[in-house]
Structure formats: C-alpha cells, structure tokens
Symmetry: C2
Subunit: 200 residues, 2 copies
Amino acid sequence: MTKVTTGATMSLDGYIANASHGGFEHLFQWYANGDVETPTANPEMTFRTSAASARHLRDLNERTGALVVGRRLFDMTNGWGGRHPMDVPVVVVTHSVPDGWKPEGDSFVFVTDGIESAIDRAKALAGDKEVGVNGGTIAAQVVEAGLLDEVHVDLVPVVLGAGIPLFADLKIAPLQLDGPITVVEGNGVTHLAYRVRPAA
Amino acid sequence: MTKVTTGATMSLDGYIANASHGGFEHLFQWYANGDVETPTANPEMTFRTSAASARHLRDLNERTGALVVGRRLFDMTNGWGGRHPMDVPVVVVTHSVPDGWKPEGDSFVFVTDGIESAIDRAKALAGDKEVGVNGGTIAAQVVEAGLLDEVHVDLVPVVLGAGIPLFADLKIAPLQLDGPITVVEGNGVTHLAYRVRPAA
C-alpha cells in the first residue's frame, strides 16, 4: 500500500506561515544554517543544513515518489519554475487547469475532480514510493477523507504569535496521532514524525 | 542568577487548552499512560508515566523553588486545595487578594503590583532554585518583560484544531528561541526545552 504523508516546517506555536502567508525567513532558517549541501532539481536552489537534517532530507527525497499540492501553492511558487525541487511529478488539486499548462505533463498533473481522485492519481505515479501532501488546507482535506498515514513536522524554535495552522479548519479535531515514531535533532530544527491513528 | 522558566503541555498544533479552556483529557494523557509512579504533594494525585517522563518530572520538581501563576489558574484549581502539587510556594498575580486568603501564606503569596514584582518575589522564595511560570497569559507577560530564560514544552501527538495558544497575544512576536537544549522522549509526549535568546 502506498503511504500518504504530509510534512511542514512549523513554528513552536503551531504555524506553517505567518498571518500574511509569509514568515519563511524565520521558519526556513534550518535549510541554510549548516554546511552539508543537499542539491535540488533546481540548480539555483541548494540546501545547506546540519548533517542530521541533510540525512533527513535525503531520506525524504528517496522515499517520495509523487506530491499532491493545492492550487494556491502551485500559483505562489509559479509552478516551481517548471519542475518541483524534489524532482517528482506533482498532482495539483484545482478547479480548472491554469492557462498555458497541459492537463497532463511529466512534471504536473492537474486534477479537477477532488482530493480523493488526486491521491489516487499520485499513488499511481509514485509506484512503490510514498505520496507527499503539501499545504495546510490540502493536508486537512486529505486527513478528513481518511487518506493520510503520517504527519511529519520540522519544528523550529520561533514563536510567530499568529498565522496559518498546520491543519487549517480541521473538521475532525481532536485528531489523535501516535508517536513520535521518529525524532531527528538538526540544528535549529527537530524533525518529528507521527502516525495517524486509523478511525475506530 | 535565578533562572525563570515556563512550561506547558502543548498539542501538536500549538494549543495548551482547547477553545473552551478544556481538552485536558487529550493533552494530559501522558501523565497517566505509564507504570512509573510520581507522587505529588496532593495525596490524591499520583502521576503514572513512562520511566523517561518520571525522570523528567523528578528533575523538574527538584530544580523548581517557586511558581508564578495567574489568578485564573489559581481560581480554576481552587488554590490546588491549599497547596500546589509541586509542594513549593506559589506567587499569584492578581488585582486583589481573594476572599478568605491571607496576602502572605506559606503556600500562596498574592502580588497586586504587577508581573515584575511577582517575579522578584518568587526569586526570593526560590533561593538557589528556579522559578516556574504557569499559564499562557502570564507566561506571555513575563517574556514581554524580558524576564523569561527558558521555555519547556511537553509536546503531545494530538491536533486540537483550535484553542488557547502557548503565548496568548504575544506582543513581541516573532520571538526567536535557541534549541531545543534538551529532548526527552516519553510515551505519547516529547519533552522539549528552549532558551529565550536575549534581546540584542
């Protein structure tokens, strides 16, 4: 069975972005506070992290076969310039295919009939690897649909005070998880993984 | 110098209580999910935790010399029945001494002239031990006053979806911390400690 996971860098007070959908200069410090380089599919983007975080990123890259993201994230990143830094196909959940894009490309597949269809499509693309889900609203939809297996949090030591929560407007709260099943200490970040407890 | 710390059990999405100031059946599971007993000053209250969490609680007890709490927490717990479970003097920040209580007792000291005065008083009571600050609003006031040295979070694997944040209405966000300086893995809880970065 293809595992479906979501991951995000999160402030100590539970936010994946500040209230203006920014704050990444605080959240993403750990991607650039070490000396071990991790290249990405984008030649202009190389992470420089602690050795522990570099191993964590390498493991994540190796086990991820496809991603599911929301239209907001696709638009904000301008389609990651044509190819996601993780170098895997990305399924975009959207109401309509954006202008100038094919519905089905090697890098992006646009799915207009809902989250379950998007997850199915990503599972087929991922083969025997995992599907990663990115973006708080999309992640909440996936967990509400009972399709999420794990939650990965990169917890960073900053208090933002307000912002966009990990699972925005979660309709099935409280949601009990199990774990952490792994704890990796980086520099200025703690990589935590939790398992979603199956519905009784 | 007497160290001032604050600690709270926090949901994975950053809440120390749900929106109704409850939710403790989810947050406090780790106090009762193991078989190592930690007695408290209250004969009717014994924690049963993992061995790691029991060591963590014992260390916390041994290094804490006094507490500072807000009036809300004092009222909610009805003055902990007369003595705080940690068996240390408690300084209560309040506008007025509650009916039926002496301004200065062995168990409780009521301070009506603000948070800095309360911290000073607690430091004197703590001797060479630490001062612990409990309650999100009070903790935010202490960090805003530049008086907090460490933040201790007992992170539990539940998503509450909404609630009372760790530092409610923090006026100096974003607040950068250093660490975690310690990570202790319990059963259903991760004990994390961070150092407040001194103002530049």
